[in-house]
C-alpha cells in the first residue's frame, strides 16, 4: 500500500491546542510520526528575564492555558526557597484548595475531550458544564476565571470571600452525585469502552525511556509516584488521600485513573476546608515590590500537575529580575518523544486519543 503524508491538527476536534502531528500512514497504520511544535511559542523564558519578579506574576499563568495555577505555585515555591519566606498556615490550605479545584477542572476537560475523537460530544458538554461551575468559583475567589494570579510568593493574594466554602461544598456534592453519570456517558459506555480498551498501551519500559510522569506513569508502573505523596509540598503531608495506580496502561485505564483522581480531589478539598485555620494569608514583601530583590541561587521547584511533574528551574543573580527561568512542561516527554517513538505502529485515529489520555498541553511544550 502507498505511504501517505498526513497532518493531524492544528485545527482538529481531537487536537489539544495549536500543535500538529505530522505522520506518514500506510493504510490506517502510522509508519512514522513527529510533532510539529512552535505554533504557540511566545518567548516566555526570554520575557521573564526582562521583567521584575513581581511583574512576572501576571505573565507566568499564561504558560499553560488550561491549568495556570501550577505555574504560580512553582514560581512562588521557588522564590520562597531562595528567600526563606514563611507562608502562613491558612495560605497553604487555600493553595491546596485552588490547586485541587484546578485539577478537577482539567481532568473533567480531558475526560470530556475524549468525546472529540470518539464522536460522543455529549460527554464533553456535561464535563464542560461542570468545569464552568469551577470557573465561577474561581471568579468569586480571585476575580478571574482562567488566569488567576492568585498564588503569590509568601501566600495568596487575598483571603476567601465570605460564604465561598458553601459554594465549593455544594459543587463538590453535586459533582459526586453525578459521578456515575459521567462514567456512564464515557468509559462505562460500551461503545466508548470498546474503542478505548486495550488501545494505545503504554508499557513500563516506555515510561522510563521517555521520562513520562503523572497519570501515564502511575497507570503503568503501579506505584504511587505522585509528587504530592513523594515530596509533599504545601500541607499535603497532613491530608489523607490515596493515589490510584495500575499496571495495565491502556486508554481506558488512564481515563479511569483520572476519574478516580477527581474523587480523591473532592476528598482533599473537603479535608482542607475542615482543617483550614483562621489567620493571615500572606507575608508581605519587604520594601517596594518593583525594586524587590531575590537572593542569589539556583533552585528547581516542581509540583504534581494533572499531566505529571511540572517545574521551574529558577536562577537568580541577586537582582530585581530573574536571571534565567527554565520551564519543565509536564507534557514535554509524551508530547515530543512519545509521538515520535511511540505512535508508529498504532492506528492513525489513536493519535488523538494518545493526546487526550496522556494529557498533552501544547502551550507548555512551546512556552
Amino acid at each position: 500500500m502507498r505511504e501517505i503524508k498526513l497532518f493531524l491538527g492544528p485545527q482538529h476536534p481531537g487536537m489539544h491546542g495549536n500543535t500538529s502531528v505530522h505522520m506518514y500512514v500506510e493504510g490506517d497504520i502510522i509508519v512514522k510520526s513527529y510533532l510539529l511544535p512552535g505554533m504557540l511559542h511566545r518567548g516566555f523564558e526570554k520575557g521573564m528575564e526582562n521583567r521584575t519578579w513581581v511583574n512576572n506574576l501576571a505573565l507566568i499563568p499564561r504558560i499553560c492555558v488550561v491549568e495556570p495555577d501550577i505555574n504560580e505555585m512553582v514560581f512562588a515555591m521557588g522564590i520562597e526557597t531562595l528567600t526563606g519566606m514563611e507562608v502562613p498556615e491558612r495560605a497553604h490550605y487555600i493553595r491546596m484548595i485552588i490547586l485541587e479545584l484546578a485539577r478537577i477542572s482539567i481532568h473533567l476537560m480531558a475526560y470530556g475531550g475524549i468525546g472529540g475523537p470518539t464522536g460522543h460530544y455529549t460527554m464533553m458538554y456535561h464535563a464542560q458544564a461542570d468545569r464552568n461551575t469551577i470557573l465561577d468559583i474561581f471568579e468569586k475567589i480571585t476575580g478571574h476565571r482562567i488566569y488567576h494570579q492568585y498564588i503569590v510568593p509568601g501566600g495568596v493574594r487575598k483571603d476567601f470571600p465570605k460564604g465561598i466554602e458553601k459554594d465549593i461544598v455544594d459543587f463538590l456534592d453535586d459533582l459526586a452525585s453525578r459521578y456515575t453519570e459521567h462514567r456512564d456517558l464515557g468509559i462505562d459506555n460500551p461503545t466508548i469502552k470498546k474503542r478505548l480498551d486495550h488501545h494505545i498501551m503504554l508499557p513500563e519500559s516506555v515510561v522510563w525511556e521517555l521520562g513520562v510522569t503523572g497519570v501515564g506513569m502511575r497507570s503503568s508502573v503501579n506505584k504511587p509516584y505522585d509528587l504530592r505523596k513523594v515530596t509533599p509540598y504545601a500541607r499535603y503531608s497532613e491530608i489523607d488521600f490515596h493515589v490510584p495506580t495500575s499496571d495495565y496502561s491502556d486508554a481506558t485505564c488512564r481515563v479511569d485513573i483520572k476519574l478516580q483522581e477527581v474523587v480523591q480531589c473532592i476528598g482533599i478539598i473537603k479535608q482542607c476546608l475542615a482543617k483550614m485555620p483562621e489567620g493571615p494569608v500572606r507575608t508581605k514583601l519587604e520594601g517596594n515590590g518593583l525594586r524587590w530583590k531575590v537572593p542569589k541561587g539556583q533552585v528547581y521547584s516542581a509540583v504534581e500537575s494533572s499531566r505529571g511533574e511540572f517545574g521551574y528551574f529558577i536562577v537568580s543573580d541577586g537582582g530585581t529580575k530573574p536571571y534565567r527561568i527554565a520551564v519543565r512542561g509536564a507534557s514535554f516527554p509524551q508530547g515530543l518523544l512519545g509521538v515520535e517513538k511511540y505512535l508508529p505502529g498504532q492506528r492513525m485515529d489513536d493519535a488523538a486519543l494518545w493526546f487526550d489520555t496522556m494529557g498533552v498541553c501544547s502551550p507548555e511544550i512551546d512556552r
Binding site: K46, Q298, R324, R328
Partner: protein
C-alpha cells in the same frame, strides 16, 4: 538498589567518588553538584544506576560576564525523592558538549531545545541540530544574553506607517 539516602549522605557519597568542584544542599529534597566536564557522563550514569532514572529537565544558563555556559541536568529518583542538579560549565564561544542520550534517551528533545535557544552543539546527537520551535529563525540563538529582542523586532519588521487620510468623500469623486 541501595537503601534510601538523605540529601547530605548523597553529597558525601558523590564527593567520595568524583571530583566535585562545589556542592550545595538546596533544600531537603534537592542537592546541586558542580562537576568537571569529563565527569558529567559518569556521574549521571552512576546516579541512574542508583535509581535516579528520570531526567526532569536539561537546560542551560548563559553567564555572559564569565564567557561561559552552564549546562544543568536535573534528575529525580522516585523511590528516594531527591532532585540532583548536575551542573558543568563550558566555553561560551565554542559551545560543544557530548550528548547524554545514551544514558537518558529522553534528553534528545531537551538537547534540541538547548541547541535552538543557546547554540550549544551536542556531539553524537545529529538531530539536535534541527530547528524545533523557531521556524525560519535567522539570528543568533534567542536566549543568549546578548540577544536583544527589541532590536531584532525593529530590524525584522518594518514600522507600520499610519496615514490619517479618512476623507472618504475624496475617493467617491
Amino acid at each position: 538498589m541501595m537503601n534510601s539516602m538523605s540529601n547530605i549522605e548523597l553529597v558525601k557519597d558523590l564527593k567520595a567518588r568524583y571530583k566535585i568542584i562545589n556542592a550545595d544542599v538546596v533544600r531537603d529534597t534537592q542537592i546541586a553538584v558542580d562537576v568537571t566536564n569529563g565527569d558529567v557522563h559518569s556521574v549521571l550514569a552512576y546516579l541512574k544506576s542508583q535509581g535516579w532514572r528520570q531526567l526532569s529537565i536539561l537546560t542551560n544558563i548563559d553567564w555572559i560576564d564569565d564567557g561561559e555556559y552552564q549546562l544543568v541536568y536535573i534528575i529525580f529518583n522516585w523511590d528516594n525523592p531527591i532532585w540532583v542538579q548536575v551542573r558543568t560549565r563550558i566555553d561560551r564561544d565554542n559551545a560543544k558538549f557530548p550528548t547524554i542520550t545514551s544514558v537518558y534517551p529522553g534528553a534528545k528533545y531537551y538537547e534540541r531545545d538547548v541547541h535552538e535557544f543557546f547554540g550549544v552543539e551536542f556531539e553524537g546527537n545529529p538531530e539536535a541540530l534541527q530547528q524545533l520551535f523557531l521556524e525560519g529563525w535567522d539570528d543568533m540563538p534567542p536566549l543568549r544574553k546578548d540577544f536583544d529582542a527589541k532590536a531584532y523586532s525593529d530590524k525584522k519588521y518594518s514600522k507600520r506607517e499610519y496615514t490619517t487620510d479618512f476623507n472618504t468623500k475624496e475617493d467617491e469623486k
